[in-house]
Amino acid sequence: MTDSTVGAPAQPPAQTAGLASGGAGSRRFRGARNYLALIPFHLYLAVFLILPTLIVAIGALTTAVVDAFVYSIQLSIATAIAGAVLGGLLAWAVARGKPNGLLRQFVIAASGVLAQFGGVMLAFAFLAAFGFNGLVTIFLRDTLHLDLLTDATWIYGFAGLVVVYTYFQIPLMLIVFLPSLDGLRQEWYDASASLGGSSGSFWRHVGGPILAPSFLGALLLLFTNAFSAYATAAALISQGSPLATLQIGASLQSEVVIGRENVGKALALGMIVIVSVVMVIYALIQRRASRWVR
């Protein structure tokens, strides 16, 4: 508001009026006094609008809720980064292969299955590998005589969830990122090479900047993917994990405990807010990224 009145034609009369009443200091004072007139309005809204909202929000943010979100967000960030790096590398390796080759079709179909339809089955896959009687656990114990993983409880903790979640993040990254890699054109590489650029300088000055928005967007998508995942963790861990989605599930299953369901609703609302914010940023980034995708 103040910005728009500075250059406006109405300004000179106001200025002379200010000068007439005794200089710059009192003008500033009058400016402040003008703001004071708005205090009743803001005070009223603070008491009857903002305060109730805060009470609801703070009431929702019990330590259990905060812990759940902190745990879920840490897990989501860790697995989004791991999945994006490993999945990005896999996408590059696949994009360099034959366009209609067997490897490409195999990896894409397998990725579709593992990224989107895994759920409970992935939990059993990991129990078959790293559970108490799992292949890897037995191999380490009997063949290598390492008791590193033999108690098989690590799979139910944070480290286990990171390994399991990364497992379905990699295929999702491949599916999302492959079109961007396919969109890098041979002509751009040739142009870069004919101007004397090396492979490294191509990636630094052309490929990298073009892929950066897609990569960032994929990272956000992977974050929401891990953040919203329920089935795999639910099948792996029966109870007691602070993971937000598992807490919501637990609150739905124990409706007899009064107030527990409201924790579920508070968590659900929090999830919608977080996912919405991330998806809006994702959409903005994607708009830029899609410029280069055929």
Binding site: A125, Y167, Q186, Y189, Y230, A268, A289
Partner: protein
């Protein structure tokens, strides 16, 4: 192709059929240096090894017999387990209802927006992609009371697990939309509709007998994706206490892990075959269209 300009969210639900048969990018054309070739092989071995290890462990685990021998007993037992058969039957019925419901809801709507109200196309697209932004676990919190009400007031129909089809239709919208949309974009539906209408066909006939045969590939891959999604759905059915395939697998895991691992592996392989079918159909459909279109342009 994958990212339509108006809908940035769409890249989150890529069309798997289209992805499998894409043109050659920068990757293929250059002659790889030895360093790049070995880097590529190392990446493939490590990442595919990571993805393959648990699957191999499932195969090993589910074929364990007595005293270190190999046996297929778990796979045989799988076929005699009544809970499992019930779960598969329920899930297959839900899958059929979901596919039919999804097609009836989506195909006329999408054709209509393209032909008659193109302005609404972005709105419909946004709404179809919305389930990507609302996690299933959040949806189930809100859908719980609705299903409780249906169970109490609509008798046997309302309490049936088949009502899960309602929510599964919503969950498969993003994938189904992407698949049908890419088919719909490759034909000139407005002209087709005008031609059909001017020859005296009504709208139902225009949509189902003129447009539908032309977007067969998209409809087929949307249907296959919906089937895969229904067969893999766990979150909502378990929290609403319906016995679907995934719930049966989970419950079985507590009693007989060997059979449940055998079922899990079979289900993953089945889903894999379905997606290979999509890739074939999607790629094949596109090739046909190109052959028809190219002489004209």
């Amino acid at each position: 192709m994958t990212a339509s300009p108006g809908a940035p969210l769409s890249a989150a639900a890529p069309d798997i059929g289209a992805l499998a048969a894409r043109p050659r990018g920068v990757g293929g054309g250059r002659r790889p240096s030895p360093l790049q070739r070995s880097a590529r092989i190392a990446i493939l071995v490590i990442v595919i090894g990571y993805l393959g290890l648990p699957l191999f462990a499932m195969l090993e685990f589910s074929t364990r017999g007595n005293y270190g021998s190999r046996s297929l007993d778990s796979y045989a037992a799988m076929l005699n387990n009544q809970d499992l058969i019930d779960g598969v039957t329920t899930s297959l019925q839900i899958a059929v209802l979901t596919v039919v419901g999804m097609l009836l809801l989506l195909v006329p709507t999408m054709v209509w927006t393209v032909v008659r109200v193109p302005r609404m196309r972005r709105v419909v697209e946004f709404l179809c992609l919305l389930p990507l932004a609302i996690p299933a676990i959040v949806l189930v919190v809100g859908i719980g009371p609705i299903y409780r009400w249906m169970g109490q007031h609509l008798g046997a129909v309302g309490a049936s697990p088949l009502t899960l089809a309602f929510i599964d239709i919503v969950l498969c919208l993003p994938f189904a939309y992407r698949a049908i949309d890419s088919s719909l974009r490759s034909i000139d539906s407005a002209t087709l509709a005008d031609a059909s209408r001017s020859l005296g066909a009504g709208w139902p006939r225009t949509i189902f007998q003129v447009i539908l045969p032309n977007i067969r590939a998209g409809v087929l891959s949307a249907s296959v994706l919906a089937i895969a999604l229904v067969l893999g759905e766990y979150t909502i059915s378990s929290l609403l206490s319906f016995n679907t395939l995934q719930v049966a697998i989970y419950l079985l895991g507590g009693r007989d892990p060997f059979i449940s691992v055998a079922v899990s592996l079979s289900a993953l392989v089945f889903a894999f075959i379905l997606l290979i079918v999509i890739a074939r159909v999607g790629g094949g459909g596109r090739r046909d269209q190109r052959e028809v279109e190219e002489p004209a342009t």
